[in-house]
């Protein structure tokens, strides 16, 4: 039994309501008021289309958030209270919606693409998670990962000590230099814990690329982990702490650029939310590794041996659809000389892999996630491409798991690793 169940129900509901109310900004309010309940959003969501269960309709996942809004803040809230038309939320409702708010939403934003009102459901889900966290209603494995990230700097145990050991090992084994904690550098490079623990070759690949570009760069043991599990779990304070670690590290080494790793949510957290969390514009540029590679290619600083193969690219939702950087990986692939076979739905319209938003960390969501993964398998098979690449380690992990589960004969590769393998000189 979790500690949370000892807290009285009214206290937990009140905590959720307080957090919800804080999140009823103008954007949230207008979006919730504008919904016409047409249900079109269902057709964009991999969790609905793979199950055809109406409960997975995107806007339905926000029902408790909507009830709280109508009871407390909506323009007609006083009237609704007077007439008893809106009862507000109960602990039971919050508990039963936990699966929809966490397990069944990767915050991929595909539903916004189809919504006639342009409602940013992913952003609303992200806000609704604040209230869920406050009520102690985060799936335990996701909460524990976020807590580790807050206390140990990594959700997967990639503590500073582990990082240093890994860097030593990788430097020895691959003959690369990963400069830790330099007092000054133009570029601060960050990683995803998934890369550090599961795909360490990505660290080597980044080191090779930065050396090739002749960059002055460093990795800080005080701010190296970019996957913001504080944000994913719904803990605003932890989100702040995790962003601030990187921001402080970048300021300390006077970096002009922070390069984010192959991680979609890291991009959303720092590129688009970092300054808002920090409370001021960031004194450095924030780029995703795919953007960094594309800019090197544009400047002629990336000399590559051509890769004469056909390849299809999986867009990480937070970098492409919600991040606006869908062109960058394609520029890099063009520089690699691959024969790009696009999926039917790609770039802004790409289907999510099903593992974003912390979903891959929630064990009980495995079946739902793996069901949704079929959509990707079918799309990729239809391209007939020989290779498969992405620029998100979380997507890669989801693909590895999905491929193993479905006994699919395709293997996801990292864009950065592909580039590093083809560097000339």
């Amino acid at each position: 039994m979790s500690l949370e169940s000892n807290r009285p129900a009214p206290e937990r509901v009140a905590a959720a309501m307080n957090a919800f109310v804080r999140d009823f900004t103008r954007e949230s309010a207008v979006h919730m008021d504008a919904c016409i309940r047409c249900g079109h959003c269902a057709q964009a969501c991999h969790f609905y289309t793979s199950t055809l269960d109406p409960k997975y309709t995107p806007i339905n996942k926000l029902e408790p958030f909507l009830h709280a809004y109508r009871r407390t803040t909506a323009p007609w809230a006083p009237l609704a209270r007077l007439l008893g038309a809106e009862k507000g939320v109960t602990l039971q409702e919050l508990e039963s919606w936990q699966e929809l708010i966490y397990d069944a939403c990767t915050m991929c934003g595909r539903c916004t693409l189809v919504c006639p009102m342009g409602i940013d459901i992913a952003a609303l889900i992200s806000r609704a998670r604040h209230g869920m966290f406050a009520a102690g209603l985060v799936p335990e494995d996701l909460r524990a990962a976020a807590e580790r990230a807050e206390n140990e700097m990594s959700p997967l145990g990639a503590t500073p000590k582990v990082l240093e050991e890994r860097v030593d090992w990788l430097e020895d084994e691959h003959g690369v230099k990963i400069p830790l904690d330099l007092p000054q550098a133009d570029v601060l490079v960050t990683f995803s814990s998934i890369e550090i623990m599961k795909y360490p070759h990505s660290l080597v690949a980044m080191a090779k690329v930065l050396k090739h570009a002749g960059e002055s760069w460093t990795v800080s043991t005080k701010g190296y982990e970019a996957t913001n599990f504080g944000m994913l779990s719904g803990n605003r304070d932890w989100q702040h702490d995790m962003s601030e670690r990187i921001i402080d590290a970048a300021i300390a080494c006077k970096a002009k650029t922070v390069v984010l790793p192959e991680c979609g949510h890291a991009y959303g957290a720092l590129r688009w939310e970092g300054a808002n969390v920090h409370g001021a514009p960031l004194p450095f540029e924030v780029v995703h590794i795919s953007e960094y590679l594309a800019s090197l290619a544009r400047k002629g600083r990336l000399r590559l041996k051509p890769l004469a193969k056909s390849l299809t690219f999986h867009d990480p939702c937070q970098v492409s659809r919600r991040g606006g950087a869908s062109e960058a990986p394609r520029e890099v692939l063009a520089a690699l000389g691959v024969d790009l076979h696009e999926m039917g739905d790609h770039a802004d319209a790409a289907w999510c892999c099903g593992g974003g938003g912390g979903v891959v960390a929630i064990k009980r969501a495995d079946e739902l996630r793996r069901g949704a993964f079929r959509i990707k398998m079918e799309e990729i098979d239809a391209t007939g491409a020989e290779l498969l690449a992405t620029s998100c380690a979380n997507c890669r992990l989801t693909f590895d798991d999905g491929a193993a589960y479905h006994k699919w004969n395709k293997s996801m590769q990292s864009l950065t690793e592909l580039v590093a393998e083809r560097l000339e000189g």
């Binding site: 309709t57 323009p75 409602i119 409370g279 492409s320």
Partner: protein
């Protein structure tokens, strides 16, 4: 006071007052919600273009979703256009508006507007059928959705019934009922989903600005 006098007099005044005051209140309440500034460095510094694109592009379904939502969108367009024709191109309505606000414009021939009325009623019935039979729409539907449907359908139905072909003129009781149902529409407008007529632009615009500055599809 006859029913028609009531509908033309006090009922209309009350309905218009609630319509205007209620709509302004709802806009005011939404506009005064906190709107924290977005401090991230924009990729594209073009908020107005993002808003405009976001508003315009959603008039047409995203090409990748046409097959999945096309029919629902088509039916929606049928009754929205039908309603616009009836309200703004039917001579008696233009006269009504002229008396109310002093501005008028040329009308379409009456048979065209009657045809539009028929199409609108048909499309509204299909929309209701979809709402009742599609599992997703049914799950999402609330009193608001059904009542909003009713207050749109009733004025069209009573309006169509008001023309007495045998007598070659309008049936006064139906005209009164027609006016009363329009007033019901006006009374309900600020409280429910009907207000998407204006909120759609605001909602799309917000997303347009947010994603436009990111260089993503607004």
């Amino acid at each position: 006071m006859t029913l028609l006098e009531f509908a033309r007099g006090p009922a209309l005044t009350v309905a218009l007052t609630v319509f205007i005051a209620g709509t302004l209140w709802r806009i005011f309440r939404l506009a005064t919600r906190p709107a924290p500034p977005d401090r991230s460095a924009p990729r594209v510094d073009a908020a107005a273009a993002g808003a405009l694109l976001g508003i315009l592009r959603r008039f047409w379904p995203h090409p990748r979703f046409g097959a999945r939502i096309g029919f629902s969108v088509f039916i929606g367009y049928l009754y929205h256009i039908g309603l616009a024709v009836i309200v703004f191109a039917y001579l008696p309505h233009i006269e009504f508006i002229r008396k109310l606000i002093g501005v008028g414009w040329p009308a379409l021939p009456a048979p065209v507007t009657y045809f539009a009325g028929g199409v609108t009623m048909f499309a509204l019935l299909i929309a209701l059928m979809l709402r009742l039979t599609d599992p997703v729409k049914r799950l999402l539907s609330r009193f608001d959705n059904y009542f909003s449907w009713l207050v749109v359908f009733l004025p069209v139905a009573t309006g169509m019934a008001a023309f007495d072909t045998a007598a070659g003129g309008f049936n006064q009781t139906y005209i009164a009922l027609h006016l009363l149902t329009v007033e019901l529409f006006l009374l309900w407008f600020p409280f429910g989903k009907l207000m998407h007529a204006g909120l759609a632009f605001w909602s799309r615009g917000i997303t347009g600005v947010k994603y436009g500055r990111r260089g993503a599809m607004p």
